[in-house]
Symmetry: none
Subunit: 159 residues, 2 copies
């Protein structure tokens, strides 16, 4: 079986079409990653720093919720974080054919208008981009690494 279908990581970039009903195929390898994690599903929200949507597993969102529970109720910090995170987050339901329907408001936020969506693997999370915007972002990220502005951290736990 293909490596990509056998890992719990979200990898590679998949560009799929939105059909007349607003549905998009959620990439098969991402579905496999969800299954490998025994995940109940995914949520998406607007990225704070990029013109993209962030995709998390529901389990990860629950972890974030638990972390926020450590903060004092009604404190300014907790309120701001809860609002910024949860008020914009939506569950991305995946149907039996492996498709999802992107909420129109979120799709509009990242400039998806031409019925094409790029699902971008980020390891334990993923992102959703308008394809050409992602191509541009990818180029600038690559350039940053090439030029040495950005370095890779040490790997730990290597054998």
């Amino acid at each position: 079986m293909s490596l990509l279908l056998n890992t719990s990581l979200f990898l590679s970039t998949h560009v799929n079409k939105i059909d007349g009903k607003g549905r998009v195929s959620f990439p098969a390898s991402f579905r496999a990653a969800l299954a490998a994690r025994s995940s109940q599903g995914v949520v998406i929200f607007k990225s704070l720093h990029e013109t993209a949507l962030e995709g998390f597993t529901i389990e990860r969102l629950h972890q974030m919720a638990q972390a926020l529970e450590q903060l004092p109720p009604f404190s300014a910090q907790r309120t701001a974080l809860e609002t910024a995170i949860f008020a914009n987050t939506q569950e991305l339901a995946i149907d039996k054919e492996g498709r999802c329907s992107l909420p129109k408001d979120l799709a509009a936020l990242v400039g998806i208008t031409n019925n094409e969506v790029a699902f971008v693997g980020k390891g334990s999370t993923f992102q959703i981009w308008e394809p050409s915007a992602h191509a541009a972002a990818l180029k600038s990220a690559t350039d940053a690494v090439k030029s040495g502005d950005v370095e890779f951290p040490k790997l730990t736990g290597l054998v």
Copy 2:
């Protein structure tokens, strides 16, 4: 009920209309969250710091009562919190169609006049806002997090 909604968290922002009889649809995903928590019901009270109503499950209100029990009896802090929270708390009954009717006094407190209500997910609780007031609050919360004024507590054990 939709079984595709797989989280017990209150997520996203849902703006619904109040009809001629004062009824509003309680968002379906919130109803699913209640079911996932096997909750007995929901209460609301005026937010301590925001122009909004706080929505809690009755179970969570009990937790909060317990937390207040930790404080010294008759201390100023305890008295103030108990009064501010419990004295203003009302049940939010949800009918068979999934609608609720907002108590008029509480609706008026948060400036709901144009027959539109925003139900805002906050993870394990939710809030009720006048929609445009919430849009402003959301922006300032998002900006605070973006700018780094507010930091997220560390997550542990992520894969």
